[in-house]
């Protein structure tokens, strides 16, 4: 994903198609971008320092920028990204939300709510409840998958027989792997 975005970034980096071919110069940059504003007071963290403090990789920070989750406060005259102190808290927020299973899109929603005066605590609670329901559904589905696998494992004695006699493959081929009937049909008698 990150490599795809990086290549996309490279493609969009220079508007002039011949840029970069002249005298080995770096590709021409667009005339103006959001990032090329002067860094405000307090924006002292370079991307490297931010990455070190938050234990988040440089690629991930750039990826979050592409996803509009974390924008630099500005850039130096040489074009390096600069972040304010609140970027540290924002990255910690993203990390914690990911630990709770939130997708980047959901994290974006949470961050928008956080900075929206019209949003209320109940909006966040509703999102958290929806997420919990999704996770519980996944757990239920995965438990069923695990049980189906247990049944398949149980029907195989693990002997060194030829692959053509493999009861697990036979059960999967028969499309009956999920039913208890399969378990009885393919169970080898001792």
């Amino acid at each position: 994903m990150i490599s795809r975005i990086r290549s996309r970034r490279k493609l969009g980096a220079g508007l002039d198609p011949t840029a970069g071919k002249r005298n080995g110069a770096p590709p021409a940059r667009p005339q103006t971008t959001r990032l090329e504003r002067a860094a405000p007071e307090g924006a002292r963290l370079t991307i490297g320092k931010l990455a070190k403090r938050t234990e988040v990789s440089l690629d991930t920070i750039r990826f979050y920028e592409d996803e509009r989750l974390l924008m630099p406060a500005g850039k130096t005259a040489a074009g390096y990204r600069l972040y304010a102190e609140d970027a540290v808290q924002r990255l910690e927020f993203i990390k914690h939300a990911q630990h709770c299973g939130m997708t980047l899109s959901e994290i974006r929603q949470l961050l928008e709510m956080k900075s929206d005066d019209r949003a209320c605590c109940n909006d966040v609670r509703s999102l958290a409840i929806r997420k919990k329901l999704q996770l519980e559904h996944k757990i239920k589905t995965m438990t069923a998958m695990s049980e189906a696998l247990s049944q398949l494992i149980e029907i195989c004695t693990g002997e060194q027989g030829p692959i053509t006699d493999c009861p697990i493959l036979a059960a999967l081929e028969s499309s009956l792997a999920n039913s208890r009937a399969t378990h009885i049909r393919f169970k080898k008698t001792p």
Binding site: N122, R125, S126, I129, L133, H137
Partner: protein, 90 residues
């Protein structure tokens, strides 16, 4: 046998409460012998909600089946209940 309507929601959602009361009135018009109503707190009955496939409360189940993932309009609920009652009588 009466039709069982269950509405899954979370307490504290004022929008849900307004819509739910309006739908409850529709269900109650049929009479308790025809349609029963139950409010389900998703957080208190999480397993049941998951079992029925509730993902985005408020949702509505009828006779143990998730019929409306989002709350229906009054007309949609009335239509669904009439259809089911008609089927039961047939």
């Amino acid at each position: 046998m009466s039709i069982k309507v269950e509405v899954f929601s979370t307490p504290g959602c004022s929008r849900c409460e307004g819509a739910r009361d309006s739908l409850k009135a529709i269900a109650q018009k049929f009479g308790a012998h025809e349609v029963t109503w139950r409010d389900v707190n998703v957080l208190e009955e999480l397993d049941y909600a998951v079992q029925l496939g509730v993902l985005t409360p408020p949702s509505m189940a009828i006779d143990g089946e998730l019929v409306f993932a989002k709350l229906p309009t009054r007309a949609q609920l009335r239509e669904e209940l009439v259809r089911r009652l008609g089927r039961e009588r047939a």
